[in-house]
């Protein structure tokens, strides 16, 4: 479904991504692991167009993404839960969730049903519908960011460290949710620092090291040898 070949991306003149190639097959959960600064977030930003791709190609279901604006890419069915939450601080919790469905022309009833879905998943948010997102706690904002992305019914869902700052009990729920929506047909590209967790639910894993793919394989295999994994994660 998503195929990245030989991608170079950089901030200044120094490339952060050094010719990355990876593939996300339809209907699967693929995870990216790697040390701090390996370039995982940069890869997602390149896919969703937040970072312009330098060289190489990013193909999504046959269409080339490189060079397009983020809103076009998102319109093609990609949702990106960015690093650092990026909720809209001056919008209320409800408004934040509602804006997640900006592209889906839901009817009033559908919108309401979908929002209630999210509130059921995160009861904490339901308690705080009217609160400004900027005053929510870190973990609450993380929930909001995920809920917002789930509103849009994407074909490909990209999550950048969804468990960041969440209480263990919530992480469990999120993991369940990810597998659930994957079962319903959404492809998932997941970045996760908690390698065990990520490997447990994903089908395929890529390990990034200083801007290139160091290792890839079925998650079950990658997870088997901790020592190799630890070597790469050490940065």
């Amino acid at each position: 479904m998503l195929k990245i070949s030989d991608l170079y991306v950089g901030y200044t003149s120094v490339p952060v991504l050094n010719g990355i190639s990876l593939e996300v097959p339809e209907g699967k959960i693929v995870t990216m692991l790697g040390a701090n600064g390996a370039g995982k977030s940069t890869t997602l930003k390149a896919i969703s167009g937040l970072m312009p791709a330098g060289f190489g190609s990013i193909r999504f279901g046959g269409a080339e993404l490189a060079g397009r604006r983020p809103d076009e890419i998102v319109r093609m069915g990609i949702a990106h839960v960015p690093e650092g939450r990026l909720v809209f601080p001056g919008l209320t919790v409800s408004e934040n969730i509602r804006i997640g469905s900006y592209l889906c022309k839901y009817s009033k009833a559908e919108l309401k049903r979908n929002m209630e879905h999210q509130f059921a998943l995160f009861p904490r948010l339901a308690e705080r519908r009217g609160q400004l997102a900027g005053t929510m706690s870190g973990g609450e904002q993380q929930m909001l960011s995920i809920a917002r992305a789930l509103m849009s019914k994407p074909k490909l869902l990209m999550l950048d460290e969804p468990s960041l700052g969440l209480a263990p009990v919530i992480i469990d729920q999120i993991i369940d949710k990810i597998t659930e929506i994957n079962r319903e047909g959404t492809t998932v590209l997941l970045i996760e620092q908690n390698a065990e967790l990520a490997l447990a639910i994903s089908d395929w894993a890529y390990i990034l090291s200083v801007g290139s793919v160091a290792l890839s394989g079925p998650s079950s295999e990658i997870g088997r040898d901790r020592s190799i994994l630890d070597a790469y994660l050490g940065g």
């Binding site: 005053t135 973990g139 609450e140 700052g165 209480a167 469990d172 940065g235």
Partner: protein, 262 residues
């Protein structure tokens, strides 16, 4: 209360309360950190942990109760004054000066207004001023070495990866010369390997005699580091004790840990 060191109390919160509009974020909280201890503060999201740090460091005004540090009440003091008393912290949402270099960010921890750095001395570039600057630079380099950021000294802080920025915040806090360090989710965004080196760092900091109050959701870290754990839920303390006993507490499991992990 089973087996806690009976060393001197460094920080003592009694009946601390904070309200935001109709919401009580922290309710009647009693909490102590003792000398040389690593205490952990855990709890579900939005249970008021960060708010407690904000109250201690004077960012939010206290609505009720008392905060004593080294036996002196500190509530009502301005944040910088509290820092000068010896409390330093990091932030859950990283707050480095992204347009400044790593070195400058750490220099910020040297403060302004508590001696040294006089305007006239700076403008005229007196000898004393230069000596002070060199002294500061040496100290900062030493701290950067200690946390392992020496090689990034001249890098813009905003360009560092997430994890490194967290370490940078710790370095900045160390330079203030704290007696108590408050860490708000230092392990967020770190992978298992990096968590190991963070643990090592915190242990080394603690070994310098600096007390630590740690907020964390990564239980492996809490379990390995902390002498004492406080659990908050909805702003109320629901349990305290050693990690081993806390993790068996049904209330804590229900509200926070979840069943799968146990």
């Amino acid at each position: 209360m089973n087996m806690r060191t009976d060393r001197e109390v460094v920080l003592k919160l009694s009946a601390l309360t904070k309200r935001f509009g109709g919401l009580t974020a922290v309710r009647e909280l009693d909490l102590e950190v003792r000398e040389g201890e690593i205490c952990a503060l855990v709890g579900p999201n939005g249970s008021g942990k960060t708010t407690v740090l904000n109250l201690i460091t004077g960012i939010y005004p206290v609505d009720g109760g008392e905060i004593r540090f080294l036996n002196r009440p500190i509530q009502g003091l301005a944040p910088h004054a509290i820092c000068w008393q010896g409390i330093a912290r990091t932030f859950q949402n990283i707050r480095v000066l992204s347009q400044q270099t790593v070195f400058e960010n750490v220099l910020l921890g040297k403060g302004y207004g508590n001696g040294g750095a006089g305007i006239l001395r700076t403008l005229f570039g007196t000898r004393g001023h230069c000596r002070e600057e060199q002294q500061n630079a040496r100290e900062i380099d030493e701290v950067l070495e200690f946390v392992g950021l020496s090689n990034l000294r001249g890098e813009l802080a905003g360009n560092l990866p997430y994890g490194k920025q967290r370490i940078l915040e710790i370095a900045r806090a160390l330079v203030t010369g704290p007696k108590l360090l408050l860490l708000d989710e230092p392990a967020a965004g770190l992978n298992s390997q990096e968590i190991l080196s963070l643990m090592d760092l915190v242990t080394r900091i603690n070994a310098r005699g600096i007390g630590v109050l740690l907020i964390e959701h990564r239980m492996e870290l809490v379990g390995r580091l902390s002498n004492w754990v406080y659990v908050l839920d909805h702003g109320v303390k629901i349990a305290e004790g050693r990690f081993e006993s806390i993790k068996e507490d049904p209330m804590v499991i229900e509200a926070y840990l979840g069943r799968r992990r146990v």
